[in-house]
């Protein structure tokens, strides 16, 4: 083989993977990168989208949203909503997964519970929002039951009171999201070799010691991966909050997604909405990089 042929062959080998990847790269570029870059561009323009000749605004829109107390309230609500959701998704998911993996529960009952526990996952965000609005409305079932049990003395406006609204939407989101953890952890539990537990039994380990020293360490890769993904997804939740409270009452459930939506479609300030969207993008990007680093380290 001549030198020229060899170099041609090497070039072909080097280019071939990119050619195989090109359809996916093209789709990613068109559907993800292009809109992302466009939105970043809008955040530096005055009257973005609304004017055909928008002028350069520099960091003006970022300064405007950072000076807005509602933005900081939204950021705080987003963090509260996300952290509480992830912690409770994980805790409830773990408890239910352990329950479904336990030999002490009758297999028939286990199968029934498996179906029941996974139900919230089958509903769309809109259905979940409507269900919880009906349940938690002042004249709804929850108030009625709590009043009959003597837990509350008068009707609580769960979604309409600034004191309870954020907790109420977080609760609805916890209910909607734990099955992801449950299913993932159940799969992980079924993959832990039984030898570990047998060895622990021989050593006289108690149930909680087996949980702390065997089960949780074995599940840790799944817990971290799913927690990071859940954090990213929950941070961007929009329909559940929009349909239940619309970001209110006052601004008590305003999160970054509803704040951005209102800027875009209520104020028609698409430049500031883009700046807010870029902030969400940066936070999500940070978490995604963390996730990728963790996956690589494994």
């Amino acid at each position: 083989m001549t030198r020229q042929k060899r170099s041609h062959h090497r070039l072909k080998r080097a280019v071939a993977p990119y050619l195989y990847l090109s359809p996916s790269l093209l789709i990613i570029g068109l559907l993800m990168l292009l809109p992302m870059v466009t939105v970043i561009g809008y955040s530096f323009q005055n009257s973005a989208v609304l004017r055909r000749d928008p002028s350069f605004a520099g960091l003006k829109h970022y300064q405007a949203i950072f000076a807005d107390p509602v933005f900081w309230a939204s950021l705080w609500h987003t963090l509260y909503f996300t952290c509480m959701s992830v912690v409770f998704h994980m805790t409830i998911g773990m408890v239910f997964a352990l329950m479904l993996n336990s030999d002490r529960i009758n297999p028939t009952l286990r199968n029934i519970l498996r179906v029941l526990y996974i139900l919230p996952w089958l509903f769309t965000a809109v259905i979940i929002a409507v269900i919880w609005r009906l349940l938690l409305e002042p004249n709804g079932v929850v108030n009625s039951v709590l009043m009959q049990m003597g837990i509350i003395g008068s009707k609580v406006e769960w979604f309409s009171s600034p004191a309870t609204a954020l907790h109420a939407v977080t609760f609805a989101n916890i209910w909607a999201g734990y099955p992801l953890f449950m299913v993932s952890l159940l799969a992980g539990l079924q993959g832990i070799p039984r030898d570990f537990y047998e060895a622990a039994d021989i050593d006289g380990a108690k149930a909680y010691q087996k949980l702390i020293f065997i089960t949780i360490p074995q599940l840790m890769p799944i817990i971290i991966s799913i927690s990071l993904l859940d954090f990213i997804w929950t941070m961007q939740v929009f329909p559940l909050i929009w349909i239940t409270t619309g970001g209110g009452p006052i601004y008590s459930t305003e999160v970054l997604s509803t704040y951005t939506y209102k800027l875009a479609f209520s104020s028609y300030n698409l430049s500031q909405a883009s700046a807010s969207a870029v902030v969400i993008l940066l936070i999500s990007l940070g978490l995604t990089l963390l996730y990728i680093r963790y996956q690589k380290a494994r």
């Binding site: 609005r133 349909i243 006052i250 209520s266």
Partner: protein, 415 residues
């Protein structure tokens, strides 16, 4: 049998093709974007367009229809990119923004050139002196009263003033039975409750939330209205869940005998009857302040129409607008929509055939249409800002005066 093509047949075919081709080339196709078609009986708007095409040979109309919110977003983007349809369905709340983008044509020259009789239209929405929108159909917002609940509560005379309304609402309220006198939807998801359920009290008494084209929320009319609403809330006559209640939920509560009175669109009459055929209700105008005897402002929402400034067929587009605003066609359209006409001479058929509509038409004729949000910049944003301050007031965080002052501050930033 062999089929032979005769030269004469060829000639006829060629002539037919030529006629068709030139005819097609001569046709002007108008694009008409609106949200009305899905809200009208199936095929009815298309039938009106077919009649228009028959009356105006050479003009074709393509309907671009979608739900209200989608249409709004589509029009915003179309205005920015210069791709707005020739004729557009408009909400009064949008026109200021669209005008700022120079997206709407001034219909004044078209009216003058065609000798259009301006006295036949109920209103012409103007921004910066430009005639940008005609209300084609108006949906008024009277007070719906559950007559059975009123009778049970001993309300024999339906309220005409705010004080009477408070008294009637108190009588109709039985919180232990989940029954309340009034319902107020102030969800931030759709802040139109500010326009329909709050400001309507101001307009009903012939008052205004504006002064010299600027917000005047700290003035007596708005502060008095907020004080009145606070007194209703303090009296416990408003159905709970105000801050997240939507218009649909308001109607549901009324339909299910859970509230005695609500301010609502006349467009919901048929829906209410469908949901609860046994419901015995009547319509009254929005009550007024004490000793007010003038004409009552009647809140309304409208299907407006305008022409794109970028349209290459403005002459044809104007023909379509004129057609829809003409007496007979307008009457036909509003009869289908259960709305009140944009042409003052048009008389919809439901007015004579239906008691509730007849009553509403009477209220409409004795009052005047009032919606000061029409033509304001970012009207929905203004409603949201007012909504938040009203919610704070109802939560006991501030007084009506403070709510009005804070809302004024928020609004001024937008003007």
């Amino acid at each position: 049998m062999m089929f032979r093509i005769q030269p004469a047949m060829l000639k006829i075919a060629a002539a037919a093709w030529l006629l068709g081709a030139t005819g097609a080339m001569a046709d002007t196709t108008l694009e008409f974007t609106q949200w009305w078609e899905p809200e009208l009986p199936a095929g009815s708007l298309k039938a009106i367009m077919n009649d228009f095409e028959a009356a105006n040979p050479g003009i074709k109309v393509t309907l671009v229809s979608g739900p209200y919110a989608t249409t709004r977003d589509q029009i915003s983007v179309g205005a920015a990119t210069g791709t707005l349809s020739d004729v557009v369905g408009l909400d009064g709340a949008w026109v200021n923004n669209l005008n700022a983008q120079n997206a709407l044509a001034d219909m004044n020259p078209m009216m003058d050139a065609s000798g259009f009789d301006k006295t036949q239209v109920a209103d012409i929405i103007k921004v910066d002196g430009k005639a940008v929108m005609f209300p084609v159909a108006s949906f008024v917002y009277p007070v719906f009263v559950n007559m059975d609940l009123a009778a049970q509560a001993g309300v024999t005379k339906l309220p005409s003033t705010r004080a009477e309304f408070l008294e009637a609402a108190k009588k109709m309220t039985h919180a232990d039975k989940n029954q309340y006198g009034w319902v107020l939807p102030l969800s931030l998801q759709t802040p139109s409750g500010v326009q329909n359920d709050l400001m309507s009290w101001v307009w009903a008494s012939g008052q205004s939330m504006m002064a010299d084209g600027k917000p005047a929320l700290e003035g007596k009319p708005v502060v008095d209205m907020l004080t009145f609403v606070k007194s209703l809330n303090d009296a416990g006559v408003i159905s709970p869940g105000i801050a997240t209640k939507t218009e649909q939920e308001k109607v549901e509560e009324f339909v299910n005998d859970r509230v005695g009175m609500m301010i609502d669109s006349l467009a919901h009459v048929n829906l209410i009857r469908e949901r609860n055929p046994k419901l015995n209700f009547d319509l009254i105008p929005v009550p007024v302040v004490e000793n007010y005897n003038g004409k009552r402002g009647l809140p309304y929402a409208s299907w407006g129409i305008g022409i794109s400034a970028a349209s290459k067929h403005q002459e044809e587009a104007w023909k379509l607008v004129q057609y829809l605003m003409s007496e007979k066609v307008n009457a036909k359209l509003v009869s289908l929509a259960n709305a009140f006409p944009g042409n003052v001479n048009a008389k919809p058929d439901f007015v004579t055939s239906d008691k509730a509509f007849a009553k509403a038409f009477e209220i409409y004729k004795t009052g005047y249409l009032a919606n000061e949000f029409t033509g304001l910049p970012v009207a929905e944003d203004l409603m949201t800002k007012f909504d938040v301050e009203a919610q704070k007031m109802l939560a006991g965080e501030q007084s009506p005066e403070q709510a009005a002052a804070n809302a004024q501050k928020g609004w001024m930033a937008k003007f």
